[in-house]
Every structure is written in structure tokens, then in C-alpha cells.
Amino acid sequence: MTSSTRRLLWALPPVALLAVFFLYPLLLVVRQSVQPDGGGTSFEPYTDVFASGAFRDALWTTVWLAPAATVGCLVLGFFLALVIAFVPFRGAKAVAKFIDVFLSFPSFLITLALLFIYGTVGMANGVWTDVTGAAEGPFRFLTTPWGVLLAEITYFTPFVIRPLLAAFSHLDTAQLEAASSLGARAPRIIRQVILPEALPALAAGGSLVLVLCLNEFGIVLFTGAKGVTTLPTLVYSKAILESDYPGACVVAVVNVLISVGLYGLYRVVSRRAGA
């Protein structure tokens, strides 16, 4: 046996595990999506699902919510990282540490917290009714897509800040000093020195956040809003609540195609960026 075949053989056990527990199950999902409950093989589940209003709603919500949240995360993350890195203050290091800790918590905690802050009987509405004497507060966006958007921007912004801070730490501050001593003002330095340096990290962080938003489940589930469904929550409700497995598999296939396509793009972008 040559040494290169032996190396290939060494890679086999983990690949076999992955095949049994991930690739084969995925294949079964695709197979089930063309096997309607009535028996036989047809694209009937696809035509059924594509024709349903619930699917179109979920697809549309997913497709506009994810890019909107991504843009929000990029803008907010760029600003926050800029301040942490270039206008440092006492405690900036602690803030960076806090962001690391933040990343190790599950996403649904954010929605849980928002329920206390903006919920129908929450803090903000309570203050409003106390101050104005009105019977009800004005904040009721939590069960709409806007509530999901706010939660997603909150939870995923640290995913943009982290690579940005890493990129900024490679930036030679002498460049900033030189630009500034030549008379460039802050906005111009940001545009012409910092932004080009940050672009790869922004692209990589942004596309990761886009995929994670497309796949987000906990945040949407915890809002408890029947009005907001995304593709992942539709998969859950079709499979577990309605026991419509072929339908759930169809939605799953669509979701996987969108996410994996975008993730492939992310890998290409981040490899180009050397991140």
C-alpha cells in the first residue's frame, strides 16, 4: 500500500461518521420531499407547498428579513468596532471581552429580554402608561417582523465586530497618523484608509451573518408571533405540529438550497479575503 492511499484511508472513519449522521439523513430528506403521503413518487408535495400562502409568506419574510438584519449588523458593527479600535476609552478592552461572552449565549435570550422591555405589559409600555395615563402603551412591534429584526441585529452584530477588530489590529496606526498629519480629516481617513482595510472582514462577517439570519429559529420561535413565520419555523410547524413530513422536507430543501448557496459564496469571499 502506498503512503498516499494510507493517508486517504486514515481520513475515512470521520468521513464515514459524517456520511451516516449527516449526508445520508439529508439525502433522505430530499427523497421524502418527492414521496407524498398518498404513495408513489411525484413532485406533488412541491406544487402543493409552492401554491400555499403560508410558504410564500415565510419565503418572503425570510428573504427580506435576513438581508435587512445583515445591513443593520454591518452598519452598527462597523461603527462600534471603529470606536473600540480607534477612539479607545477606558473599558474598551472589557467591552471587547463582553462581546466574546455575548457570543456564547443562545440567541433566544435576546427575544426573552425584549419581551420584558417592549412586551405588551413590559417596561417601556408600563412607563408610557404611568406617564401619560393612557390605557395601553404604543410599543407593540415585538410580534411583528420588526421585533425579529431588532433581535437579530442585536444578536448577530458581535459576529461582525469580532472579525473587524481582528482586521483593525493589523492596521498600522502610522498610516492613520500620516494621513492625519497631511491634513485628512476623520471621515476621509475612514473612507480612504480604514474602509479598504476593513472590506474583507466586512464581507466575510456580513455573509456569515446573512446565512445565520436565514437559518435563525430560536429568535422567531420566542417572539410567539403567529404572524411571523420564516422558512426554519415553517419546517418545524409542518413536521412537528402538522406531521406533514413531505411538506416539511420540501421547505427544508428550499431553505438548504438558499443557505448553502450563500454559504458557498461566503467561503469564496472569505478565502479571497484571507480571513
Partner: protein
Amino acid sequence: MLVHSRGTRWALWTLFLVLFIPLFALPLLVVLAASFATHWSSVLPSDLTTAHYSAATRGEALQALTTSLVTAAAASLIALAAGTWAALSAASLPKRVRRVLDALFVLPVAVPSVVVGLAILVAFSQPPILLNGTRWIVIAAHAVLVTAFAYQSVSAAIVRLDPAYEQAAASLGARPSYVLWRVKLPLLLPSLTAAAGLCFALSMGELSATMMLYPPDWTPLPVLIYAATDRGSLFAGSALAVVLMTATLLVLLAVSRIRTKASYR
């Protein structure tokens, strides 16, 4: 220093705090404060109590915490073993094969976790392997989901490894297995523990695949938190969430201590 004027600097810091505190610090504080309260319809929570914690640390809740800890520990160990094995064997393969392996092992990040849950549910509710209704189906799903992260961080660490060490050991006559055990793995130990911590934290908070799969006698903590908030017990849910966060942080702290010990060697 990017901004030289004092006034602008203060304005930026104020804007930073105005954005940072409500968005990132407030949610965690709110969950923490709510876990001690029974009412919250004004600026501050009212009717303070520790009853939620006494409920959150016994009976069903305690069982859910143990379930989560056991699931996360088992899933991270499996993921670490499989991910490290895959990353080490991939590193010695030609570039094109390695690319394929990279893509395969990172795929579970891109596939929505709900779909991973659905796929495992569909696959293991039918022969040849029947796992549906057992705890193993939850552990298997968590292991699949976190293996991708273990693989990514270990293979990133292998790239940074100085090949001179293993070349030196090999040139002195060490067998490949000896080089692996006594040179490579000890050098990789800091990244391995970091990967283990990451896997553990992700598995502790995993909700989407778990919701598709969990049997009634193996309910992890996030599912219990969802059940509590879904029936309107937001305050009890917050106490459970604080227990979850504390347990995760304690394990992460313990794991990072292994790392600092190892780096002194």
C-alpha cells in the same frame, strides 16, 4: 488617534454608549433582574423573590440542567474526537482532496439546524438504525452540529503549527504515532480546549434541532425555557435562562483554565 477634537470624541463615546448599553448590556441585565421578580410593568421589576431559583434548581428543571450538561459534554467530546481526527488526516492530504473534506465538514454550519434535526429525525425513525425516542438522537444531532466548529478551529490551528517540530522529531527517528501523541497533540492542546469550550457553549444553547427531536424523558434546558415562556411564565423562564448562562460560563471558565495550564508547558 483618529479623532483629535475633544468634543467630537465625547460625542462619539456618548453615541457608542447610547447604542451599546440598550442593545447589548440591557438584555442580559433585564433577564437577570426579571429572574428575581414576579411583576414588571414599570421601570423596575417588583415583588422580588428567589422562588424561581428554588424551582429552577430542583425537580424537572434540575433534571433538564443535567440533561443539557450531559448532552453538551457528550456531543463536544464526540465532535472534538471526530473533528480533530478529520482535521489531522485532512492536513496530510493533497490540496484538492483537502478542499473537498473542508467543504464536507463545514456544511453543517450552512444547513439550517432545524433541517439537520428534521433529517436526523427522518433517518433514524426507520431501519436500519432506530434512535427516535432515545436520548442518543439528541446527542447525535448536537454532535453533528458542533463537529463543524471543532473541525474549523482545529484545522486553522494545524495550519499555524510550525512543521519544524514534527520534522525534528521524525528526523530523530520518532514513529508517526509517537510524533502525533508527544509532539502534535500537545502543541495543539490550547486550540483543542478552545474548540471544546466553543462546542460546549453551542450545544448548551441549542434549541432548533432539539425541538425537532427531544423525547419526553430527555428535555434539555433550552426546551424547558421555551415551554415556560410559551405558557406565559416569563419570570420562571428567566431564572432558568440565568441558570443556563451561569452553567455555560462556569464550564467555559474551567476549560480556559486547562488552556492556561497547558500553555506553560
